[in-house]
């Protein structure tokens, strides 16, 4: 039963992510994507500071490779780009395209970082995701002609 609870929590987490992107998208259309990204990071930083005080999880890691700090850089860019396209594409299409890009990039990153070529199943997965993007395009094409 506890497994089901965690499955539900993870599912709920997807909705939490969606809420964050919807708010940032709404903010972006009013004050611009870069300012929306700034607000997102400042508010998130304050929230996590409180969370860390409550949880007591301050762990300044020893011998952290410098590349590990690149996450913040890509995060700032991601929130800006995602907030810009979110209201333009709509919640569902934005989610589908972002997931597609994320999954394909993850395969390439693992390939580059791990040095092993992706498994056949993973290649098939990339093909199926690409088919999904292609199908969304055919629908878009029809809509544009109307």
């Amino acid at each position: 039963m506890t497994v089901l609870l965690y499955v539900f929590l993870a599912f709920l987490n997807g909705a939490v992510i969606g809420t964050s992107r919807a708010l940032n998208g709404r903010l972006s259309s009013a004050i611009g994507p870069f300012k929306a990204s700034l607000w997102n990071h400042v508010v998130g930083f304050v929230f996590l500071t409180v969370a860390l005080v409550v949880l007591g999880q301050w762990e300044w890691g020893a011998s952290v490779p410098w590349a590990a700090y690149l996450g913040g850089f890509f995060g700032a860019l991601f929130v800006a780009v995602n907030s810009y396209v979110f209201p333009r594409l709509g919640a569902m299409h934005a989610a589908l395209l972002v997931i597609s890009g994320q999954m394909i990039a993850a395969v390439l990153i693992d390939w580059q970082a791990g040095g092993e070529s992706p498994t056949g199943l993973r290649c098939l997965g990339v093909a199926v995701v690409l088919l999904g993007i292609y199908l969304s395009q055919t629908r878009r094409g029809k809509e544009d002609r109307k």
Partner: protein
């Protein structure tokens, strides 16, 4: 339409940026904890975002003055809650750490989070949540979602 194709490409590019962000944040989390790694990433991200605002701000405001457009420049009418997107965004990391440390694997957590995101998008478009424009869901959307989810499942559970 060129404008909409650009949005489409930017959506996929955003996904690639997200994958890079997660890759490097996971590296940091390996040396610390997920919450602490996210705190560090938010702090550094705020600095980067501030630089982006300063770099683009000068150019944009000059163009805006030239255009003299009023458009959406009414922050007074903007509800306060739209500034709080960072809270659910940061909470995600804590919740993900809970499920990964629980009986759900990392793969299972990621897969369920993707399903949750797509279902949320569907519900949000249908009801126009958070004062977003309502969008009609057509059967083709379901087929696209099925392809993206099935492909993602193959990538997540298909080994590295």
């Amino acid at each position: 339409m060129f404008g909409r194709s650009t949005d489409w490409v930017l959506g996929i590019a955003a996904g690639a940026l997200l994958a890079l962000m997660i890759h490097y944040n996971s590296l940091l989390a390996e040396h610390t904890t997920p919450t602490f790694a996210s705190w560090t990433a938010h702090g550094l991200g705020a600095v980067v975002a501030l630089l982006l605002v300063l770099l683009t701000g000068a150019r944009l405001s000059r163009r805006r003055r030239a255009d003299q457009e009023g458009g959406e420049r009414t922050p007074a009418r903007l509800p306060r809650w739209v500034y709080l997107g960072g809270i659910p965004g940061a909470f995600t990391v804590i919740l993900a750490a809970v499920t990964v440390n629980g009986s759900l694997s990392l793969s299972g957590t990621i897969a369920m989070m993707l399903v949750g995101q797509i279902v949320f998008g569907l519900v949000s478009d249908h009801f126009g949540l958070f004062s977003s424009p309502k969008r009609r869901i057509v059967p083709m959307d379901g087929l696209v979602a099925l392809c993206v989810l099935a492909g993602s499942a193959l990538i997540i559970f298909g080994g590295s």
